[in-house]
């Protein structure tokens, strides 16, 4: 059996490159969360509308995002858009795919969150002379934020993990991509990917920790 010698030294030499890759991973995930949250807010509003067209559009989006694999979503953006002569880079496809996925899941969370803020809060705010916009901005959204904060931070971890799928459509500068490059060059698969796994774990735990600190600072009530 184990007639294999581990070569950790060469893997550790690759650490600076892998850390650079980890930074790309984190940036991509953060960007996809930012865009995903904005779109999710939009989808949430669209799902409340009277007109069926925006409602159906938003519901379809959420439904596809939640019922198909995220890898499929990245695939269709990478290969599918080519059919329209739209050739996107693997990074753009990855970003768009994760953003699409984030938006769908977050929209569902936001809807649940809105239901959890009692509508008497809106009444109370309007009765003080606030406009609907002011009431949303100062009364509803801040309370919504607390309710969706935990799912939001969870989704951020998901986004980081999802970025690893970029390698399948040829991305080579995120953490998994960099690791795969070293792997192809050296065939030391286990060492490099084990190191990558540790880095992913650390990123995920850091996000959870930062989220906890933020929640503690933000939600004192």
């Amino acid at each position: 059996m184990f007639d294999y010698t581990f070569h950790w030294r060469s893997a550790f030499k690759a650490l600076p490159d892998m850390l650079a890759g980890a930074w790309v991973t984190l940036e991509t995930a953060a960007l996809s969360m930012l865009l995903g949250t904005l779109i999710a807010l939009l989808l949430t509003v669209m799902r409340q509308m009277q007109h069926p067209l925006p409602r159906h559009f938003a519901n379809t989006w959420v439904s596809i995002a939640r019922n198909t694999p995220s890898l499929f979503q990245i695939y269709i953006l990478y290969f599918g858009l080519g059919s329209f002569g739209l050739h996107v880079s693997s990074w753009v496809a990855l970003l768009a795919g994760i953003t699409f996925n984030n938006a769908g899941y977050l929209a569902e969370n936001f809807r649940g969150g809105l239901k959890a803020v009692p509508d008497t809060q809106m009444r109370a705010a309007r009765s003080l002379g606030m406009s609907a916009f002011q009431a949303y901005r100062m009364i509803i959204i801040p309370q919504l934020l607390r309710i969706v904060f935990y799912p939001l931070s969870n989704q951020m971890v998901w986004a980081v993990l999802m970025t690893s799928l970029g390698v399948i459509v040829g991305l080579n500068n995120d953490l998994t991509g960099v690791t795969q490059d070293f792997n192809v060059k050296t065939f030391r698969t286990f060492e490099y990917f084990a190191l990558a796994a540790v880095l992913y774990y650390l990123i995920a735990k850091t996000i959870v920790l930062v989220a906890r600190l933020m929640a503690w600072r933000l939600f004192r009530y």
Partner: protein
């Protein structure tokens, strides 16, 4: 006129891929549920002693599944294990599912009110009788929606096994795309199959849940 070089054979190939996807899902959920129930019960009853178990399981939730596949595959060759790629897929997905299932089972058990358990014990039920007749039936109902969600997410995550060379639905569609160069059509069909499979599982689950509620 709409023309395509997609043949009925290709469609059959896609459906075969979908079958592999289902097999993987069932295999992984079997492992995941058995281990998850065991670990979940342990976590709920001995929270302190099993803390290290929680940490280990947490690792599987914090590392990309793709990397878990690659690592296990590499480990397999290092150790010289002779198991099929399909088995590797089932095991990795199964452990991954177990890490989530443990949490689902644990919170299900903890959701059973302590007073109810005291009531059961005060009627003279033994620890195991209480577990079997009071705690588990209630916990199952609480945990079921979460478990169903896990099934759906594992089904979607099976797409990643293509990386270790298993031809499941997504990989099958990619093979066809390479040949006939109609990515949008083929991928849309694949997406539709995923969508329908998810929907069917979700509907079946919802029906089961409803039946339980009616019996309550």
């Amino acid at each position: 006129m709409f023309e395509t070089s997609l043949t009925s054979n290709d469609l059959l190939f896609l459906l075969k891929g979908a079958w592999v996807t289902l097999e993987l899902t069932v295999g992984a959920m079997l492992i995941g549920t058995l281990a998850g129930v065991l670990f979940g019960l342990l976590r709920a009853t001995l929270p302190r002693a099993t803390l290290p178990l929680a940490w280990v399981l947490d690792v599987f939730r914090s590392v990309p599944l793709l990397i878990q596949f690659v690592l296990f595959n590499a480990l397999k060759s290092i150790a010289g294990l002779d198991i099929s790629a399909f088995a590797v897929g089932c095991i990795v997905l199964g452990v991954y599912a177990a890490s989530f299932c443990t949490e689902i089972v644990r919170s299900g058990v903890l959701a059973v009110p302590a007073n109810l358990r005291r009531a059961a014990r005060s009627l003279g039920m033994s620890y195991w009788q209480d577990l079997r007749h009071i705690v588990l039936p209630i916990a199952t109902r609480v945990a079921f929606p979460g478990w169903l969600n896990l099934v759906l997410s594992v089904m979607k995550d099976t797409a990643l096994v293509m990386w270790i060379g298993i031809v499941e639905l997504l990989r099958a569609s990619q093979t066809i795309v390479t040949r006939i160069q109609e990515p949008l059509l083929v991928l849309c069909i694949a997406g539709l199959i995923y969508y329908v499979m998810s929907l069917v599982v979700a509907r079946l689950g919802a029906r089961l849940e409803k039946r339980w509620q009616e019996n309550d």
